[in-house]
């Protein structure tokens, strides 16, 4: 029997095989959203826990990777909703994180804070679209929404961010 068929029937060995095959991919996606290695590891386990519990709902003809990514995105979203953190990105995680000398550090912190205060679903769409430069199609698939809805979320994120920055007297 095929691996996905066995997984759909609740076979633990098949689940382990899929876990080992996809854990890196799921982690890589989550870390882009939550931007913290430890949290991303925990959420990877949480994602696979949800996957395991939902095995009966998985159609073996479907794309396991895409399904896992969607569940991972929702696990990350749930995390962002409950844990509104204001922690700076660890230096070793970011590419080219050197601050721009032209922009004052305090201003950068204000912008980051304003961004972290955006509603989680807008923040995720903007992080994936603007910072990670994922395609709208990929974001839409991961969030389980249409491309139009992704564009709308990014538009609203930009508008809200601009309004917040205006309130803080920070002009981008």
């Amino acid at each position: 029997m095929e691996l996905l068929d066995r997984f759909a029937q609740g076979d633990l060995e098949a689940f382990e095989a899929l876990f080992r095959q996809f854990q890196g991919q799921v982690y890589g996606w989550i870390v882009r959203i939550v931007r913290d290695r430890g949290i991303a590891e925990d959420l990877t386990v949480e994602t696979f826990w949800r996957i395991y519990r939902a095995h009966a709902r998985f159609h073996p003809q479907g794309n396991f990777g895409a399904w896992a990514r969607r569940i991972a995105t929702h696990a990350a979203l749930d995390h962002l909703k409950t844990a509104r953190r204001e922690v700076a990105l660890p230096d070793d995680l970011a590419a080219g994180a050197q601050p721009d000398p032209a922009v004052h550090r305090e201003v950068l912190e204000q912008i980051e804070r304003a961004f972290r205060e955006l509603p989680a679903r807008l923040q995720v769409a903007a992080t994936l679209g603007f910072v990670e430069e994922e395609s709208y199609e990929q974001i839409a698939e991961a969030l389980g929404i249409s491309v139009g809805a992704v564009k709308s979320r990014i538009f609203r994120a930009v508008r809200l961010l601009r309004r917040k920055l205006k309130g803080l007297s920070v002009e981008p």
């Binding site: 590891e41 990877t44 395991y52 070793d92 903007a126 990670e132 981008p172």
Partner: protein
């Protein structure tokens, strides 16, 4: 909102929040997963459900009993 404005915000965000460079998982998470699978969800004993069901059924069929019970509590 113009595309130029979007680009401005995009550039600014990438200055503040740089893309994640290291997306590689450094260790196997299967042992953690096994631990999670071993956790058993808290189970409510059937007797507790039965004890809850008795007053629920009672109140459903004779709602006038609710104030009497509240008086005696």
């Amino acid at each position: 909102m113009s595309e130029a404005n979007d680009e401005e915000i995009r550039t600014l965000l990438r200055k503040v929040i740089a893309p994640v460079a290291d997306r590689e998982l450094k260790r196997d998470l299967w042992p953690q997963m096994l631990g999670r699978l071993a956790e058993r969800p808290a189970q409510v004993p059937w007797l507790d459900w039965a004890l809850l069901a008795v007053p629920a059924i009672w109140f459903f069929f004779s709602p006038e009993a609710i104030p009497i019970l509240l008086y005696h509590l």
